[in-house]
């Protein structure tokens, strides 16, 4: 009898440990970005595991809701700079925190786009202190998407299915955790509460005049001066 209890207990403990490990791997395991991104426009800044929009949601939102996009070109229509051959516009950072998510960094606002007349892609420069890029249209877009009845797991996963084949585990994760959570976070987010940024940047947006405090790993205050536009 006692052995049976011990065995059952052992099985329960092992199962719980396995479950905990799985949850950690799926939602919390932060993998640092490769070193090549360190001085670039795509560096993950000031973002812990709780921030960001899951990558596949981020990718397909402009494709599902073109009615809220103010121009052609997906994210390029929001006045963001986008360097050719890069996976995402300037100011977005892709990182794995268990799942892959996208956050914004300082360059999202502080990179300025200079359109050209000859049809070639716009140039991008960094400017801080002066008038930053207005990201309010982007945030409005996310809010409109979250409020639309089409922001459901079925719709989003259907469009993701055109871009890639998610594994069963990923599909379950998106359906049960990531999509509902993203919807909640984007619903009422404005620039000072958006999940796109970490706490330091959000604080900075609330009070732009105050100096940007140092944060844990990547010092937001040191990011912009170190960024080279050619990366």
């Amino acid at each position: 009898m006692k052995t049976k209890i011990l065995i059952v207990l052992a099985v329960v403990i092992v199962a719980a440990a396995a479950l905990a490990a799985a949850v950690y791997c799926a939602l919390y395991r932060v993998v640092p970005q490769p070193a090549s991104l360190h001085g670039s426009f795509y560096r993950s800044v000031d973002a812990g595991a709780a921030e960001g929009v899951p990558y596949w949601i981020w990718l397909v939102l402009p494709r599902i809701f073109p009615d809220y996009v103010p121009g052609t070109g997906g994210y390029a229509a929001f006045g963001l700079s986008w360097q050719e051959t890069k996976e995402m516009p300037v100011g977005f950072a892709k990182q794995r925190v268990g799942y892959i998510r996208v956050t914004g960094n300082c360059a999202l606002c502080h990179a300025i786009r200079h359109d050209r007349t000859d049809g070639l892609p716009p140039d991008v420069t960094l400017a801080y202190g002066a008038k930053p890029t207005d990201i309010q249209p982007l945030l409005d877009f996310y809010r409109n998407c979250a409020r639309d009845p089409r922001f459901t797991a079925d719709d989003i996963l259907a469009e993701v299915g055109n871009a890639t084949k998610l594994s069963l585990a990923d599909r379950l994760l998106y359906r049960c955790v990531l999509i509902p959570r993203a919807r909640r976070m984007l619903l009422d987010a404005n620039s000072s509460t958006t999940p796109l940024f970490g706490p330091t940047i959000r604080q900075h947006i609330r009070d732009p005049k105050a100096p940007v405090p140092e944060d844990g790993q990547v010092r937001a205050s040191g990011y912009l001066p170190k960024t080279r536009s050619s990366s």
Binding site: P62, R63, G73, W82, E87, G119, N162
Partner: protein, 1066 residues
């Protein structure tokens, strides 16, 4: 579990196991090296994966042999002796049917058969030492043995499925469909090994071989681990690893639990092994059918007296004493029943037998109908061979061996065929009965019986002789004799002989164990007395069959009919589930052995997403002829300019550029790369023959009209499943069809579901592409980069109006290898051939999740080296030489040399628009917004797909350019019309100053104009086919540019003709 002194046979088994393990490890770790060693054809990924599975199974066999041999398992040794000799035969069959290459078949045959011979000779030497006399014991089956036996059955079934129906099994396991054309099939070899493993399990489990059970407990986790490790490193296909490890672990758990239960509660369960049950059922069935014993149905019974012959050996003397007393003997033939016609009974090989009961008579006329257990001994002896297998072989070959005499009971020797232990002695003895010979030699059945009667009347004698088991040279020592007293009348159907222990004689061995199971079953199923038998003999089958079904079988808990119904239900359910899973997960493209044919008709995977059911494809032109360009049904899609092979029936055959794939049980078709890159050339108007050139721009194919057809048809009320099925029913029996008639399931799907789904998809597609006016395209043209904007769902109301028309001419796609690194697409927006291929594949419906990478790579390899057709019409060598010089002066700087590697190209590969001066619409249609969004395509695929260099599949080469790219002119004669938008019909026009070029002409004619080098452009209609009126004034159709001194338009005419003549040779 202590290992006692091992038998020689067990040692050979262990050594064989080490050899197998070594071979298996080599195959798993280095399949390519092993294949090279055996001179096998080169392995691709699937072959290597299957070969690794084979290696894993060989390792499993090896470990099984090692552990069983170590543990001295008799049952396993016997199983291996039955399993291995079949290998050379099966290997021979597989080799003759080209499933396995010779060296591999030979290697397996030699190792397995050699091992068999070695173990067999060791077994025989062991037998001479007195070991395992009579074969392995067949005892009550342990729970673990039962588990092993059932798993063995399942393994055998699985192995047979893999061997006999590999494609179906592979589809069921969700393995990708493999392109192999007559090469060796290692998947089937793995099935054969799995079946062989199953046979070993089956026999070992039947014999409850403890050593084998422990061996399987060791092997299964190891195999599961090997499979998981291989799968995690991508060395074996995931479904194989998953199914294999789950099966192994499940089997391990079951066997482990059963083994633990055996240890706790003792090994005896009263259970009879399945194999023995099958044998028992068989004999019960035959006995029931015969209404008599299966063998020796009729006989004559005699009473006799037994007296000892006083042998000198004390053990034998004891045995003789035991036998002394009274006896009854039943003598009869083995096969024939009374009542058979004499001519038949005399022809069929038959062997007599003597069944005797030794007892001590209680009364003078005691004929001991009922055996008294322990007190009485029943002995069954048969003539024709001293072992059962010899008797079987003898009868099978006509009954002439081992001194068998069918017509004289007294000319035979009767052997007991099982060894006996006497009084707990150490030695085994073989028993035989030797009658005194008769004087006369009977020649037929009747004389035989007469001879027996007279012999009994003369009180003939049967000697009982014993031979010590071991050496075959040991003598048979007479120990006692039976004297025939008289024939008696006795109810023979109530007389049951049981060849088990009695009077100190203990039979043992495999046959004894089997008899203990089979005899009671036979007794239960046949009539229990002579009157009952006579009654049943008069019965019809309608009484017999129900009685058989209602009877409670001896080794089962439920009645036969219940078992039958349950089995049939279970089989039906299992079959339905497997069938449904395989059918609705099926994904089998049609493959072609020839590389060019694969390009022309092979699948890129588009059918998985966009596939049109073949039968809809066939029915649509018949149901919607008004939407076809020429409004005529019965010609398939030829009016769109799709090319059919000469002689094919266009209603049923697929044109070039359309591929077929079976997805979820329905054959579907869709476009492939060749739809836009295969063209036809006709030498004269109305010519019946035409050249089909792979890689050539599909200048005659109106993709726009085709797309229109597909998006308009669903809007009609005729687009219902019912209407389409009516049409299909009319056409489905035609012998030219490429897909079988729709079966019931497909009919239901096509009628009720498919049309609705297709309509929904096509309406959505039509809406998204609405901003593109396909009417402006014409044959041979497409708007390449406005379609991706639709797929990315850009809100085109915000688009710049000048980006909305980007119509271009289809390009040629041969000679791709020298083009790697050159700017590709008309505006040079991508330098990677692989990326360009993947991007273009979107047009065939191949989106990242459903792209068939393997088949696309095969097309790519073909295109790398594909060459254009050489100009077939006559040319002027003198002019060519002159033209070559002019080419070198004017053209080579931008277009390079005639042949690969197209050297000589100088300056900017993408010529700025201001310099080239051609129509800007295409350049403007490709916006920087589109370029950056294309960098998100194929994201998420980190694994290398085997493109030539390490390639993270995400697109990273699209850039916005400022002009149009220079291109080599290989096969230029086939690439008319010219300039990026196809606005110049032939080379002569191109060399005219832009202002002088034709403003209106016709597109879509495939008759060649060899003088001007292009297709005939001034004919509006031919053979009922209307050509497309092309107006260079329309947006995007401008024919200016490529004009001026540098472009040769100011040359004198003779120079221009020379240049054109030279260009013909490209």
């Amino acid at each position: 579990m202590a290992t006692e002194d091992r038998s020689r046979a067990a040692r050979t088994v262990e050594v064989f196991g080490w050899v197998d393990l070594a071979l298996g490890l080599v195959i798993v770790a280095a399949p390519y090296w092993a294949a090279a060693l055996l001179h096998l054809p080169p392995l691709d990924n699937h072959d290597a994966s299957n070969l690794r599975l084979v290696g894993t199974l060989v390792c499993a066999l090896g470990i099984l042999y090692i552990v069983s041999g170590r543990l001295n398992s008799v049952g396993f040794t016997v199983a291996s002796l039955l399993d291995r000799p079949a290998v050379p035969l099966i290997m021979a069959v597989l080799w003759l049917r080209h499933i396995l290459p010779g060296p591999l078949a030979l290697a397996f045959s030699i190792t397995d058969f050699g091992g068999f011979l070695w173990t067999l000779s060791a077994w025989r030497r062991d037998a001479r030492d007195g070991l395992n006399t009579g074969g392995p014991e067949l005892t009550e089956q342990t729970r673990a043995g039962h588990a092993l036996e059932v798993i063995g059955c399942l393994d055998v079934v699985a192995g047979l499925l893999m061997l006999l129906a590999p494609i179906w099994t592979a589809s069921l396991l969700q393995l990708p469909s493999v392109m192999s054309f007559g090469g060796p099939d290692y998947f089937r070899l793995a099935g054969l090994l799995a079946g062989g493993l199953g046979v070993l399990y089956l026999i070992s489990g039947s014999l409850s071989a403890r050593g084998a059970i422990v061996a399987t407990l060791v092997v299964r986790p190891i195999v599961a681990v090997i499979l998981i490790v291989l799968a995690s490193r991508d060395l074996i296909e995931m479904p194989l690893a998953v199914v294999g490890s789950v099966a192994e672990l499940g089997g391990f758990l079951w066997t482990w639990c059963a083994w633990r239960k055996d240890v706790r509660e003792g090994g005896t369960t009263g259970r009879v092994p399945l194999l023995a049950q099958c044998v028992a059922s068989f004999f019960a069935f035959v006995s029931g059918l015969r209404n008599a014993r299966t063998f020796h149905p009729d006989g004559r019974v005699f009473r006799g007296t037994v007296r000892s012959l006083n042998p000198s050996d004390p053990a034998l003397a004891r045995a003789a004493e035991r036998l002394t007393g009274n006896a009854i003997m039943r003598i009869g033939m083995g096969v024939m029943k009374k009542g058979m016609p004499a001519w038949l009974a005399d022809r069929i090989p038959d062997a007599p037998s003597i069944a005797s009961r030794f007892f001590n008579a209680a009364t003078p006329d005691d004929s001991r109908l009922q055996r008294r257990p322990g007190e009485d001994l029943d002995l069954l002896c048969t003539a024709g061979g001293d072992r059962l297998w010899k008797l079987v072989v003898n009868l099978a070959t006509g009954g002439h061996m081992y001194g068998l005499n069918q017509f004289d009971y007294f000319a035979n020797r009767y052997f007991a065929q099982v060894p006996y232990r006497i009084d707990d002695g150490k030695a085994d003895y073989w028993i035989r009965l030797v009658p005194e010979a008769l004087n006369d030699a009977p020649r037929d059945g009747a004389a035989r019986e007469q001879g027996l009667t007279s012999a009994v009347a003369a009180h003939a004698v049967l000697r009982i002789e014993l031979q010590r088991a071991g050496d075959a040279g040991e003598p048979f020592v007479p120990v006692a004799e039976i004297r025939f007293d008289e024939e008696i009348e006795i109810d023979q159907e109530a007389l049951h002989f049981d060849p088990i222990d009695g009077r100190g004689f203990r039979p043992h061995g495999f046959l004894t164990g089997l008899r203990k199971v089979v005899y009671p079953a036979s007794v239960q199923s046949r009539p229990s007395s002579v009157p009952a038998r006579e009654g049943r003999d008069r019965e019809t089958v309608f009484r017999g069959v129900p009685r058989y079904l209602v009877q409670q079988p001896l080794y089962g808990r439920t009645r036969r009919w219940v078992r039958l119904i349950c089995f049939l239900l279970l089989a039906a359910v299992a079959f339905s589930i497997f069938y449904a899973v395989e059918r609705f997960t099926r994904d089998r493209p049609v493959d072609y052995a020839d590389e060019e044919m694969h390009f022309l008709r092979g699948s890129t995977g588009g059918e998985r997403r966009n596939g049109i059911p073949y039968w809809y494809w066939v029915a649509l032109p018949e149901v919607f002829p008004e939407l076809l360009p020429d409004h005529k049904p019965g010609r398939g899609y030829s009016s769109f300019g799709m090319i059919y092979k000469a002689g094919d029936d266009p209603r049923y055959a697929l044109p070039f550029g359309v591929s077929m794939r079976n997805v979820m049980g329905i054959d579907r078709v869709y476009l492939n790369c060749a739809a836009c890159h295969v063209g036809s050339v006709r030498d004269a108007p109305g010519a019946k023959e035409y050249r089909v050139v792979a890689g050539m721009p599909a200048h005659q194919f109106d993709l726009g009209a085709f797309g229109d057809f597909l998006t308009k048809a669903p809007l009609s009320e005729k687009f219902t499943g019912l209407r389409l099925l009516d049409q299909i029913r009319k056409m489905e029996d035609n012998p030219h069809r490429l897909s079988p008639k729709p079966d019931l399931i497909n009919r239901l799907i096509l009628q009720n579901v498919a049309a609705l789904l297709m309509r929904e998809q096509l309406i959505v597609l039509g809406q998204r592409l609405k901003f593109i006016d396909t009417c402006t395209w014409g044959p041979g043209r497409v708007d390449t980069f406005n379609a991706p904007k639709a797929l990315l769902n850009f809100p085109m109301k915000y688009a710049n109006p000048n980006e909305l028309v980007g119509n271009v001419d289809f390009p040629s796609v041969w000679n791709q290898e020298p083009r790697e690194g050159m700017p590709l697409h008309w505006d040079g927006n991508n330098v990677s051939v692989d990326e360009r291929n993947l991007s273009a594949a979107f047009g065939t419906g191949a989106f990242p999740p459903n792209l068939d990478v393997e088949r696309l790579l095969r097309m790519k390899r073909y295109l790398l080296r594909a060459k254009p057709l050489r100009y077939p019409y006559p040319t002027n060598p003198a002019l060519i030489a002159c033209g070559a010089q002019l080419y070198g002066e004017y053209c080579i700087g931008c277009h390079g040399t005639k042949d690969p590697p197209f050297s000589g190209m100088r300056g900017e590969p993408v010529v700025p628009l201001a310099e080239i001066g051609t129509d800007p619409s295409r350049l403007n249609s490709y916006t920087w917004q589109l370029a950056v969004n294309q960098s998100t395509l194929y994201a998420g695929y980190e694994k290398d797909w085997g493109f030539d260099e390490q390639y993270p599949q995400r697109f990273h080469n699209f850039r916005k350019t400022r002009g149009y790219a220079n291109m080599p002119l290989d096969g230029i004669w086939l690439r008319a019309p010219y300039l990026h938008n196809g606005s110049v019909p032939n080379l002569w026009e191109l060399l005219k100053p832009a202002a002088d070029r034709r403003k209106q002409f016709f597109l879509g004619n495939d008759v060649y104009d060899w003088r001007n080098v292009g297709f005939v452009y001034d004919v509006a209609e031919q053979d009922g086919h209307q050509f497309f009126p092309f107006d260079t004034n329309a947006t995007g159709n401008g024919n200016g540019g490529h004009d001026g001194r540098d472009f040769g338009t100011t040359l004198p005419d003779s120079d221009k003709w020379a240049l054109i003549e030279y260009l013909k040779t490209f």
